[in-house]
């Protein structure tokens, strides 16, 4: 986190030097404070979402995810297999019987662009495993 904030400060080029010492303190202007708060919020959300995703993956899915940054799910209605890649958009593929991708399906929970990536992937997994028909009805093919 400290490294991330440091990087942000270097990027925005604003630091306050305390008079009479070599100590450099974070800038407390509204912009910097806001950026730091946002960075902390985003980092926490991403971290939480990845923990939650790992908790909800089956042992097989977790092994796939750790090895290849993707995991497979089985649709609740058709029994088709889908592959969910690490990502938010255009990251879900329907597989044929040999495991080759034959079609992409793009869907996410409402407000998904503001959600952490792990949460989006978890929602995609749950949707396909718990209510495949609803997921595919909402999805756009690609």
């Amino acid at each position: 986190m400290a490294m991330m904030v440091g990087t942000l400060h270097r990027l925005i080029g604003r630091r306050q030097v305390v008079c009479g010492s070599a100590q450099v303190q974070p800038c407390e202007c509204d912009t910097c404070v806001s950026i730091r708060a946002q960075a902390t919020h985003c980092l926490n959300a991403e971290t939480k979402s990845r923990i939650l995703l790992r908790e909800w993956l089956s042992p097989e899915q977790l092994a796939q995810y750790e090895e290849s940054a993707l995991f497979e799910v089985v649709g609740s209605k058709t029994g088709k297999r889908y592959r969910i890649h690490h990502g938010r958009l255009q990251n879900v593929y329907e597989l044929d019987e040999e495991g080759h991708p034959i079609r992409g399906w793009c869907f996410m929970p409402e407000g998904g662009l503001a959600l952490a990536m792990g949460d989006v992937m978890l929602a995609q997994k749950i949707a396909l495993e718990a209510d495949e028909e609803l997921a595919i009805t909402a999805a756009m093919p690609f």
Partner: protein, 73 residues
């Protein structure tokens, strides 16, 4: 203890409740109805690690996750 996990832009928000506490169960029931009424999907994990949709509040369910309605990308 039961827990309701709501996906939101902070990652998630968690609400624990004691299934033997009537008031807590009433609040958890209300939260379930409110969220599903807003279009959230409620799901629980099966023993195999798959997910199952939940349509009725069950105070004995140990962990239920709520996610916003789906939209096409």
């Amino acid at each position: 203890m039961g827990i309701q996990i709501v996906i939101d832009n902070s990652g998630d928000s968690r609400f624990e409740f004691d299934p033997t506490d009537e008031d807590a169960v009433a609040k958890a029931t209300e939260r379930f109805k409110e969220l599903t009424g807003l279009g959230y999907t409620a799901a629980e994990r099966t023993a195999s690690g798959r997910s199952r949709k939940v349509t009725e509040f069950d105070p004995t369910a140990t962990e239920v996750l709520f996610m916003p309605r789906l939209v096409g990308g």
